[in-house]
Subunit: 503 residues, 2 copies
């Protein structure tokens, strides 16, 4: 075997976590910078992961009674003027279309022409435009509920961007629902949080904490925002999906009214909920190691890569063996779908090829050479553990799905262990502050984690959190409120919060 | 049964075809106008058709070796300045982003702020931005071919818009490939035309003529443009998909260069190909009748709708029967996929409900009432023929897929007959002109069709076509060139063309 560097990714996580993240993306061929400031190109391997995420989520949305639709990319500026609070949150940094034509300029270049009477905003989120349509569609209680989801691109003008985590344009889904009663809307908000948690844990193999946001972290205009929060390997939190109960705030601003069964005119109760390509960032930072990406099998565009090893004279035999093996594996089901198998017969060095698939995080690599054929065997490398093992071919086919499931579980367990090892309860602010303070302030080492403590949601807390660069992540839903003392103010409180540095 | 108007759609096709088209869209609940000029909202039933189109095409693209990726929404203005010919075609009417912030204005409203150094164009098509990336990715002949497709929204500022056919924002896929040899790129161009023709005929049940565009109708910058052309029921042509051989024109403008096996630097050969939500317009105008939409079964979001008919006391029995019937039907395969069945148990009048599904074009409506249950039967209405028939329940389950296939075929046959009945060969320009002139010039009746004639592609032809509002649709691929006389110029020529009025 060719000599390889100790790890494929340099720097390692310990050495420089942010730079490691960028290098994993590059080495896995997930995405590339584009010539457009803050916008990235999602390459086929990255897109394949997103497609699998979309398909799984889309099925879950449909199973919970939702339909897809599509609303315009542009929002008239006047729509944003209507909603002061929402605008404060979203409309500040956005792409503004002011002209609808290009004309030849004086110096041979082009200049914008045809100024619009009213500027258009490229949607940063679609509440206002969707709300305007719902106001038109809803007349009677018979028109409710409306349970619509949209897969779309959105734009928020970001000053500091990072691939998948914060880009000017990103892709997401946004669910927007309208209901006749508060109870139904609250139920919807909770239901979609459960869908997101289910997806995160069972597809992404990423444990999450379900919770409610504090006032300061709420979606602008929402009555309450539910969130799933995951811990990355640098122990920072990443908000991975949110579900908002909007009360009647948006329906009042947008005039979503209906006649109820008694003929009375009421405002609808609305929700919205979304996840984005940010989930790919979460996936990378949850599972990858110093050799590159590790993709949870259920989301891997290829779950098994077959690597034919041959000299010219043995190529036909090896390829035939691989083609047959591929068909046999594809006839097996993993997670209710046929196993996804690819053959890589590109004409490049075997060592290099093998490393490419390690860096891309393919769950299982299967080498097949003339000797394997003689023995009727295969030689299998597991991405999660790095272990390599020979199998009888038939045996491998019959247990391939089980191995994939083992990997899926192993990744989840590892991530959960990391989170549990780095979650601490605090009763004392000094200890809390020390937890979030790196020993090396110039080049901070990986430190901190999730802190659990009693708190009172107040300006004093915010003041004490700010210098630590820590935020309240959520009030966890699975911890019953119980009496205690706020570590920020010393006041009695029964609120418990999760605090962390966050992406 | 409640009394119904003779036809559900008013006006009929004969009375006013363009208005009929709008009314079909409204009655089928496919789409709605939005508050944004020229942009529409695609409602769930319309989106469901698009989803089915996407899934079928996506599978075909993948089966022909393509991968999906995603490129930025925005294109720097300077990218368009580089390519004079392409810009003439596309960059004139487009959405121009000039600012990246909104700030409170003097009168309490918002004003654009944060002017960009270089304006950004919302992509009208992505040749330039994708080309820039390919130039970066391609170094060696080993990096070729690149076979990438993108599903995306694009914007072209249209003055006169019509839902699905011409909207400011629309959705499409754009394939962009780069090859080492001209031969390979030409082969790719042809292959994708075949994919589009296959999709149009076998999924949309829409017969198409495959052909090459004349110089005047070519994609700006292309060496040749292949097209599929379909005839709508008003006998106008609708260009339904195009596949462009771009030669080295774009690779030279964008610097897509590679070292070949001999170490020489060469420019790549590129192609692009696309279809859009316009196909939904084509589907509507190919199959619908004066009662509304007819969706070809393979693309229908629901292929069978079950309509429970019950009084309150029989509801449980009828619903149980329907749920079981649904499961039995879903266990059957049509076109390689499980049959798609929905139950409509909404609390609205039966007659109204039935008409809703007629207007939406659901292929089969199945009424189930207490009497049907007693007999172990179902009562089935076919959307294409309007025929209604009782079946034994088991029999219906066993032949449902066959009936769907019959409908699919029937729709294709009808559309083909319409085209054949309205296609004429011409040797004489006066007859040609008369063919394309309505008898009633104020309110033109449906007239004309496809004209086949010999022609020489020249300005004189264009001059004679212009007043007739007729264009050369294509040089059909399946008609071997043979000697004849151009009906526009009297010159000898072996070129044969299809001419028509077109969308
Ligand atoms: Zn808003
Ligand atoms: Zn161009």
């Amino acid at each position: 075997m060719a000599k390889q560097p100790k790890t494929a990714i340099s720097p390692t996580r310990e050495e420089n976590y942010p730079e490691w993240y960028q290098q994993v993306i590059r080495a896995a061929d997930l995405a590339d910078l584009s010539p457009v400031r803050g916008c990235m190109v999602i390459k086929p391997w990255g897109w394949g992961i997103w497609e699998n995420m979309q398909q799984a989520l889309d099925r879950m949305f449909k199973d919970t009674g939702h339909e897809n639709a599509y609303f315009p990319l542009f929002i008239p500026m006047s729509f944003l003027e209507k909603e002061a609070e929402h605008v404060d949150g979203f409309a500040k940094e956005c792409a503004v279309v002011t002209h609808h034509r290009l004309e030849p300029g004086p110096d041979g270049g082009l200049v914008p022409a045809g100024e619009l009477e009213e500027p258009l905003i490229v949607r940063p989120t679609s509440e206002t435009i969707i709300g305007a349509m719902y106001a038109k569609w809803v007349q009677s209680h018979r028109d409710l509920p409306i349970l619509i989801n949209q897969w779309a691109n959105v734009v928020r003008w970001e000053l500091r961007t990072r691939m998948f985590l914060r880009t000017t344009e990103f892709l997401w889904q946004e669910g927007h629902t309208a209901h006749a009663t508060e109870e139904e809307a609250v139920e919807e908000t909770n239901k979609m949080l459960e869908v997101y948690a289910d997806f995160a844990e069972n597809w992404m193999a990423m444990p999450v904490i379900k919770g409610e946001k504090t006032a300061g972290e709420r979606f602008p205009g929402a009555v309450s925002t539910l969130t799933i929060e995951a811990m990355m390997q640098d122990r920072k939190a990443l908000q991975s999906g949110t579900s908002h109960f909007l009360g009647q705030n948006f329906s009042k601003a947008q005039g979503i009214q209906f006649q109820d069964q008694n003929g009375e005119t009421c405002f609808a109760w609305t929700t919205s909920w979304g996840v984005s390509t940010r989930l790919i960032g979460a996936l990378i930072m949850t599972h990858s190691d110093d050799d590159g990406l590790i993709v949870p099998p259920r989301l891997a565009p290829a779950q098994i890569i077959l690597l034919p090893i041959h000299k010219l004279e043995s190529e036909a035999d090896v390829m035939e063996y691989c083609e047959n093996l591929k068909k046999e594996l594809e006839a097996q089901q993993f997670g209710g779908l046929p196993i996804r198998v690819k053959i890589d017969n590109r004409d490049i060095r075997g060592g290099e090829k093998n490393w490419q698939h390690i860096k891309r995080g393919v769950p299982l690599r299967v080498e097949v050479g003339p000797k394997d054929i003689e023995k009727g065997g295969v030689f299998v490398g597991r991405r999660d553990t790095g272990k390599k093992q020979g199998y009888d071919r038939k045996e491998f086919v019959s247990i391939a799905a089980d191995i994939l499931q083992e990997i899926q579980q192993e990744l989840y367990d590892r991530a959960l262990k990391l989170r549990e090892d780095n979650t601490r309860a605090f009763n004392d602010f000094e200890e809390f502050a020390a937890y979030f303070t790196p020993k090396n302030e110039d080049e901070p080492e990986i430190h901190g984690g999730f802190a659990i403590c009693h708190f009172v949601d107040c300006p004093e807390m915010e003041e004490k959190l700010k210098p630590l660069k820590v935020t309240a992540r959520c009030i966890p839903l699975d911890r019953p409120a119980n009496p205690g003392i706020c570590i920020f103010t010393g006041q009695a409180t029964d609120k418990i919060g999760i605090f962390a540095k966050a992406y």
